[in-house]
Amino acid sequence: MSKEKILTKKDCRQAARRWLIGISTFNYETQLAPSYAFSVYPLLRKMYPDDEDFKASLLNAMKYYNTMPWISPFVMGAALGIEDEGGVDSLEAVNNFKVGIMGPLAGIGDTIGWAMIPTIFGSIAASMGMQGNPLGIFLWAAFTFAFLAVRILEVEWGYNMGINVVTKLGKQITVFTEACSVLGLTVVGALIASVVNLKTGLTFTNGDVVMEVQGLIDGVMPRLLPVVAVGLMYFFMNKKKVKMTHMILIIIVLSWIGAATGIFTA
């Protein structure tokens, strides 16, 4: 069943280099999706000579995506591996797979890359800097430059893994897709509780005691407001077909009103 592979090592490295566009395209709705689509663009074009297939795949690449940028090339490579093997029929599997692993990998990546490494190298550089010695800066930079090589190679590693997964599964790829979506939904549940933030600043007086509504809500159900917010957005976009752009404008205006009246607080 294994079909001829289209992508080469050279293609993988090209995608890795293009990923250096990084988090500059970050937006609140699809987060790093434009960077992702930009990075895989030439590879998808090579895989799909047909314009309609290419369009479907590129739109798939434009779906919500966010993970730690230094680990992202690996996710990208694995997704490309699945897609190279499965073609346009595997788009659903590709997206479910991305959603399923981006969260957990971001968890590792954020902890190591954004908390541990800056703390270690930052404290070294700062203590040297206090004494007027800039060497610590270069020590830190030497590490990040060296790691750049890993970031370039990750796409190939991921790609080989993605190919293996699909070759083993063969026709049962839809089963794999379902399993990925179970993983994905579990992770999205955790993301709603951790990434989305909304608090109320309302208080009311009960005798002499000032009660904070947020405290009461937390007692009933922590992160209730973010869930309600996402639920409402889902309802209006899915059932009422409210456009995403309108949704965003509504949210910004409501946030301003909420800030002015004290209903919401940052």
């Binding site: 566009i21 990084g22 500059s24 395209t25 970050f26 937006n27 609140y28 709705e29 987060q31 999706a33 434009p34 663009y41 369009k55 739109l59 779906k63 919500y64 969260g103 957990p104 968890g107 954004w114 800056p118 703390t119 190298f121 930052g122 550089a125 700062a126 800097g129 007027g132 800039p134 610590g136 830190w140 930079a141 839809t174 379902e178 399993a179 179970v182 939904l185 579990t186 992770v187 999205v188 549940g189 955790a190 990434v195 933030n197 909304l198 996402v230 957005m233 889902y234 976009m237 899915n238 995403m244 965003i248 949210i251 910004i252 946030s255 301003w256 009103i257 909420g258 919401f264 607080t265």
Partner: protein
Amino acid sequence: MTVIQIVLITLIAYWKMTDTVTLQLFAFNTIVCGWLVGLVMGDPATGLYIGATMQLMSMGVVAVGGSSMPDYPVAAIIATAIACSTGRGMEAGLAIGIPVAMLGVNFDVIYKIFNGFLMHKEMSLIENGKFASFLRLVKVSPVFYGLCSALPVFLCVAVGPTVVNAVLDFMPAWFTTGLSIAGGVLPGVGMAMLLMYMPLSKYWSFLIIGFVLTAYLGVPVLGVGAVGLAAAYEVYKKEMRAATAPAGAVSSLGDLEDE
């Protein structure tokens, strides 16, 4: 400050922000800003000292998953420039640098909203088959992101801190607070979109499991991922059995399990 110094310092601010959102070779490296501005001002030791101080202040403040945080590199750049040019020491520099760094966060939120509008335009370009225009438009984001830092720094070092304070005073509290509230809620739009693509009606129970693990029990996303993986494996085994076994065999197996 000479014109050349102002230009160079603005360029440093632009470069630092651009690096942070693209190559990330100096991500979270605040001290390098103090040092470079110190070199421009002819006093690298003071720059290093201020940069190191800001580095220590910024540690532990880590933006995860795209949240905005005070722009410490901007604070280091301005603090060093002010301290070296006025000769009034680090305290005077920080007194101005920190408020401007807070201003920088607002620019960051606004830029991410701007990126959202670019993204919609990009989607419609793809839908209309204008692939080359799509590529060109994506390249806009990294080019102008650096302005989020360069603009406040330029205003501060060229026109003076009074202007920055005036801008900060002019912005009503509801405007800046509202923007940060929106910054907290807007990722939810992405989540809602994602749920529209996923088999929510079939597997909604796993969404609840993931939520409860994090909201009530505080399990980090990696732990939730492990639970999700376990659940996914069970679903995989079950579905695999159903897919490989002939229809009759499945029902008889089901009968056996019922007994």
